[in-house]
Assembly symmetry: C2
Homo-oligomer: 189 residues x 2
Amino acid sequence: MSRVVTERKDVIAMLAEIFREHGYDGASLSLITEKTGLGKGSLYHFFPGGKEEMAEAVLSDIAAWFRTHIFDALREGEDPAEAIEAMFAGVDSYFRQGRRLCLMGVIATSGGHDRFARDLNGYFTDWRTELAAALERAGAPTAECSALAEEIVGGIQGALILARSLDDPGAFGRVLSRLKARCLMAPAS
Amino acid sequence: MSRVVTERKDVIAMLAEIFREHGYDGASLSLITEKTGLGKGSLYHFFPGGKEEMAEAVLSDIAAWFRTHIFDALREGEDPAEAIEAMFAGVDSYFRQGRRLCLMGVIATSGGHDRFARDLNGYFTDWRTELAAALERAGAPTAECSALAEEIVGGIQGALILARSLDDPGAFGRVLSRLKARCLMAPAS
DNA sequence: GCATTTGTGTACCGATCGGTAAAGTGTTTA
DNA sequence: TAAACACTTTACCGATCGGTACACAAATGC
């Protein structure tokens, strides 16, 4: 049944926060052991590939979350406008109203981003593609959809950086609602 | 007169590219000595405070560039609309059409961002403030200006991350031109 | 000329880096 | 009950980390 000891998925969740907070290079093994409460032995038991496998596991975990909670809804939702609205709500919640960074963005600006280029590319490509398709289904002009999706996906990343840099999480929500307004406006245009 | 040997400002320019490319933690002293061609002795002669002073110098150098080339023009330009247009052109050029990351953004997503929080906050605060003021002078509705400026400054950061992650520098220019269009649209609304 | 400043190269420091090895502790299964 | 498995602890590895000390060379000032 439910065990008290730490399972792999719990470790991944903790690792995600550590990488988010300190970046890939900044997340040293000693920091990881300290924050997770797990010794190196346990860590290398779960992730024989070491730090790189840890980050890989976290990234693919995040990618899976977005796929099931955001992208799939955009693609399969009956009402595309509703799915887009749900996307904004989900994003706001996932990034804790601007208090949490996007690990994909963190890795993208990290030195060793080449190592994870495939994950990053897949994540942003999927998001852009699915959002563009949903926008079109919602009635936005075909020519507009791809560029608008690009603007929104990028805008979310930028808003997170802005909120963090200004030490003003509220900036995230403000930008988010403006981006959402653009979506609702597009079909009418 | 002009010397062949490396001057402090040349070192700062090289350091900027190294930090951009590898992040703060990823830019090791050995990497810095290799890329700059300067030994530790020279480095610590220019920057007695070590790596932290190097980053500090780079950040204040960047802040100064934006102040003189972007912010001042936004504030003092006779034609605010023209100054905004120049801002977009300057930004596109500065970030090499999306092939260069913003070091402020890189540091913001870096673990040791607390150390440079003041620089980051100043940079983004100034940009937002000056752009909002220019927008208002250009005829945008007062209530709109601050939020629009926030959206644009954030949008630029996000576009850089997107361009890097998608390995598609063109995405930067596309988002940039859409953001610019929003500025030109605002006064009319 | 000589002294001073400015810049450089080399060797070294302790601390920490990511990673390994292997003995030990449970818990599960046959 | 005993072998098998899952997980942890501890000690250790060589490499690299950021930083220091100091002798040394090149330019500069008088």
